[in-house]
Amino acid sequence: MHQIEYAAPGTLAAAVALLGERRGSASILAGGTDIIVQAREGRRRPALLLDVKKIPELTSIRTAADGGLIIGAAVPCARLCAHGDVARLYPALIEAAGLIGGTAIQSRASLGGNLCNASPAADSIPALMALGAVCEIAGATGTRELPAGEMCTGPGANALREDELLVALRLPPPVANSAAAFERFTPRNEMDIAVCNCAAGVTLSADGATFISGRIALGAVGPTPLLAEEASAALAGKPVTSSTIKQIAGMAAAAARPITDMRGSAAQRRHLAEVLTRRVMERAVARAKGAQA
């Protein structure tokens, strides 16, 4: 690796100040499972690695005033997945976060890192989008918020300014008759980057017979994870049936803009987008109805 500096500030203010000083030559170090590999391979060449794991706001999980959850950006997935509240309220997030790498990666990798690394195939991002997660960002000029779905601006590029870092992800409080689910497709059973992944969040009527609303997000089928807007909007008012799900899945797949690369072909990805959307919606519906998913 090239010669690199390391700093581990204990406060958010110190971290922001350091970022401002370094004007883009610093990279955030949370779990390190992406940035260390990239620095080692010369794909990124930061002058400074800014370790954020000593900053309390980035490593805590706490309840928000509105009953939602605020998850520090650097919380390791293993801790997230073991957290009772998260598992109970946002099982789709567990499904996604728990797939980021194998056991040893899970001890270190974080939602914040997965999101900010902005791989089009990132496993956490469709789930965050389907759940309506919001990014809490701190920078030199103060704090701001950004919907999770707007963080990725291109493959490997995010919306943070040079002086900003992601502090936490805020999940809205769960709504009655709502649930989400996540699934991905990989050639092996573990340890792979998704060829396609999908998360769907649905809200049903109280009798479970009609869709009130939904959000379908697809990954690895475009330069960034994408919200299937038309498909999502089309859910409103439709009956909760397999035929609706099939129709919506087809619309979601049509929104996909996949490429062919060594991990998969465009045709395969488009096909999987339909398959996964269908499967994920069925599970989200079952979950929303209170059944064991």
Binding site: H2, F185, N189, E190, M191, D192, M262, A267, Q268, H271
Partner: protein, 754 residues
Amino acid sequence: MTTEHKAPYRVIGTRPLRPDGADKVTGKAQFGADIRLSGMLYGRIKRSPHAHARIKRVDVSRAAALPGVHAVVTAADLPGAEDRVAELGEGSVNMRELSGNVLAHDKVLYRGHAIAAVAAVDAHVAGQAVDLIEVEYELLPPVLDARDAMRPEAPLLDKNRRTRSMAGPADGPSNVAAHYQFISGDPEEGFAEADVVVEREFATRMVHQGYIEPHAATASWSSDGQLTVWTCTQGAFAVRDQCVAILDIPVSKIRVIPTEIGGGFGGKTIVYLEPVAALLAKRTGRPVKLQMDRSEVFEATGPTSGVNARVRMGATREGRIVAADVELIYEAGAYPGSPVMAACMTALAPYEIANTKVDGYDVVVNKPKVAAYRAPGAPAAAFAVEQVVDELAEKLDIDPLRFRLANTSREGTRGPGGRPFPRIGHEECLEAALSSPHYNTPLEGPSRGRGVATGFWFNGGMRSSVTVIVNADGSVSLVEGSTDIGGSRAALAMQLAETLGVGIDDVRPSVADTDAVGYNDVTGGSRVTFATGIAVHEAGMEVRRQMTERAAAHWHVPASDITYEDGRLTCTSDAQKSATFREMALQVLRTGEPLVATGSIVGRGVGAAFSTQIADVEVDPETGKVQILRYTVVQDVGTAIHPAYVEGQMQGGAVQGIGWALNEEYCYDDQGRMANASFLDYRMPTALDVPMIDTIIVEVPNPRHPFGVRGVGEVPIVPPLAAIANAVYRATGVRQTQLPMSPRRILETTLGLS
């Protein structure tokens, strides 16, 4: 040599703890990269980013000037090696080409081809220095597919290369290094007799052995010009031979110490780092350690050939295969030497077919020079042949195992290379598969299928040498030179214990360096338990003879008066005069000459190995993903010296085959860059991708080994590619003629996705 010792055995067939096990579970065992010497420097290599180019200029000045750098070397620092071919046990190697592969002279022939090397205070500084080495290239068009390389207009890797064949060297230059042809009977007449003919074409991709330990070597020169090399290798003597040729130093000046080796499978039989480490160590006057990173292992060592195969086979209505015509095109990588000849010889070996024609082509392309990979050549050929056999059986409505049984090779059948098979156990394997619990459990459910396949592999003989030392307390040291890649030191110790009639705990094996034991050919070719076992037996018999002489002197009786049985010496004329091996050792070894024996042999009487395998799969029709539900390996091992290690070889080979079948491949772009040179995207099976692998050990003892041994290490990788393809066919109705059978390929072939 006949089987003098017969079952039931005392030690053979038991499952003692492996002697190297304690160090391996505690992290104490020393592997290639674990060597640390005082003053040691660290090396890194400059590699070509281009698949085909002329080297116009190399400027190392900025690298050499970097603080912390102690030396930079290039091919100019190597003496010219001769065009000498050496037989390495798993293939032959041209020394001049090997030297060029170690450090490129005027041309780079694949991306990753080594050009220069740096020694520095740590690997990071060395890596930074490598980035400062400037190379000017004249880019040349790369040729990346063997069939493209065979076209007359293809760019040539070497203008001096002429195709070798039985007709003599060809006139004009070619990328086809060799054409082999084997004919028996009259194939066209055979096909005319056939009621059913199946012809198919197949394609497989380059794959890697995937050993978890990257190559690592450390070199150090003494001030009187003695070179010592520590390396994780399958053959310390092979390393010595290759370094002698490449560095142009006398054999007496180099000692190679094999460390423990973290997997080889054939890929650690030729040198990559050792001569470079030696050059850097000479230049700096300090020990130098070179270690590859994972991407270098993929791009710059020796994967195995991607293959294009065409197979045509014909059978009669009654189920007799009457003709076979096989064409095999194997990519050799940058230099000649694909395993196509072995593929030609093994492809049809399980069957007795009167009329056969096999053509094999060894073709160079701009990819790394291929090296041996477990039964080199055979798995891809079996992928093709075993599917055509399967299709014939289906068309004839005969059970696939019974069809194979009806055509099986037996003792006396004309085998590979035209020699009749000795006693072999293919028939027994097929019978065992037919009566196995797996085969007799119906497979139910949609999208599920069962496939079978069978395979053959030679066993190697070659040279082995061991020394046996009897210690004063009656324990025995076994000094051998076959590096242990699968548990062979345990199997050899067991054969010695059996020969001497002592307990396994009384035998202490060690793998020695090139100064401490006689010549040993590489550990490969499934030869060690067999051939080094013969050497061990020979040495053991010599120990018995010497111990008998000592007893005779001790008891004042003629040696002919003493029997040696079950580890006990007894005087036939006076039963009171009786002692165990240990008791006698305690009596006679405190004074008198040390008791040392050697066994040095060329292994003869190889047994040949067969394996038959059964795979149950489920294919998700919507995603194309294949799940292995159940897998059984049946294999004739001759005699299972250590059943647990034999099972381990069967299971390990099968799972490598599963990976090869389902997901492993080198993904190249059109410039010859490997896109997936990491364990993330080169997808080897994980523990979650395979079920338990059931094993059925068949024992048809090899009559020409003292304990009936057949080599077991390689044949288990031969059938899985076809067994899974046959299973996928039954699950989906579509025959997969290309590897890997990735989810993408299965979707493309079953759903017509393009």
